[in-house]
């Protein structure tokens, strides 16, 4: 008889401090969430350091992988923003890679018997993390938009070719619509990762409890087991897709900032 160590499907989202740190009254403890962010960042740095260490005309496998990633994001930025988007490439590339790696690292199974603080943690399944990323994007959009277009940036909120009496109402709606962008961006990534991981753990939990029931009931465990296999495959798709969607929308919003005055 074995006993499952993981309890509910929500336990995986618990934030656990590992090293207690305080900056004045602010709690800046190193948590499992922060630890996994550092792991993701470290993994990306190591990957690119290794891939570009011996840059050659005929690339090694690692270098080809890095080049494919580079060209993928480079094409995306050029197609969405145009040649002026070149300066945003480092940001979009960093954002895309980090979200992709954070999503994918969340799929690594936890080794049994590890303390809770060392369990695999999906940082992007927390709204505050995705909201912070979205806020950085929207801050760049606003700052660059005003720097590039000056007050012409406000044209973004005034759709052209409308009767003047509709303007006040529509400007209000456009402003709210603009402000809702970071939230929409953040909710989408968070909800996808969160929901996917809950479903995954639910199915897995069903398998364990059905097996624990003993007798012929154990046979029913096959269904949730197959379900969890399917959801795992789906989660890999979602992990890549959501990183891509986040990057695409960032590009679309940056495009608005670059071309606000042309409206």
């Amino acid at each position: 008889m074995f006993y499952p160590t993981a309890a509910g499907p929500m336990d995986q989202f618990e934030i656990i401090p590992i090293v207690d740190l305080n900056l004045g009254a602010i709690d800046i403890s190193l948590t499992n969430s922060a630890l996994w962010m550092l792991i993701c960042t470290g993994a990306i740095i190591i990957f690119f350091a290794a891939a570009t260490r011996r840059a050659a005309i005929i690339p090694s496998r690692l270098q080809s992988a890095a080049e494919v990633l580079y060209e993928f994001v480079s094409d995306l930025v050029r197609d969405t923003i145009g040649p002026e988007g070149r300066k945003f490439f480092p940001y979009v590339f960093t954002l895309f890679l980090w979200i992709l790696i954070a999503n994918l690292f969340g799929m690594i199974p936890t080794l049994p018997g590890l303390p809770h603080a060392a369990h695999t943690f999906t940082t992007t399944s927390h709204l505050i993390v995705t909201l912070a990323l979205a806020m950085v994007t929207i801050t760049i959009v606003i700052v660059y938009g005003f720097w590039k277009n000056g007050l012409g940036f406000f044209k973004l909120f005034a759709p052209s070719g409308l009767p003047i009496w509709l303007m006040p109402l529509l400007v209000l709606i456009e402003v709210i619509s603009f402000l809702s962008r970071p939230l929409s961006l953040a909710i989408r990534l968070f909800a996808n990762m969160f929901a996917g991981h809950v479903i995954l753990k639910l199915f897995a939990g069903f398998v364990v409890s059905l097996l624990g029931a003993g007798g012929f009931v154990m046979a029913f465990g096959v269904a949730p087991f197959l379900g969890s296999v399917a959801v795992t495959a789906l989660e890999f798709l979602v992990a890549a897709l959501q990183a891509y969607v986040f990057a695409v929308l960032t590009c679309i919003y940056l495009n608005d900032a670059v071309h606000a005055a042309d409206h």
Binding site: L172, I173, E174, I176, S177, L179, S180, R181, L183, S184, I187, R188, A191, N192, L237, L241, V245
Partner: protein
């Protein structure tokens, strides 16, 4: 028997690639399957939700600041819903 077999030319590579292209061409339109469509649905729902949430929040905060509860909250909900629909129409286009 052997003469007939000799006459028949082996299928040329050109003809083979033509056939391959034809077969690929038939399959191509089905390629964008449930993945992107499902992503689009996710996107639409979060766009609508975010507009409504921001509108409501702004209305609520203005109410608290100006002490006009509940009027600005109601206006905020209405405008937020409109903004959500605006997001939706923009993202679907």
């Amino acid at each position: 028997m052997s003469k007939d077999a000799g006459k028949e030319a082996p299928p040329s590579l050109d003809e083979f690639s033509e056939r391959l292209d034809a077969m690929r061409g038939e399959d191509e339109p089905e390629k964008p399957s449930s993945g992107p469509a499902w992503g689009k649905a996710m996107r639409a729902s979060s766009d609508l939700l975010a507009g409504l949430a921001v509108g409501t929040l702004i209305g609520y905060l203005l109410d608290r600041w100006l002490g006009t509860s509940p009027w600005l909250l109601l206006v905020g909900i209405g405008l937020g819903f409109a903004a959500g629909l605006r997001n939706l129409s923009r993202s679907i286009k």
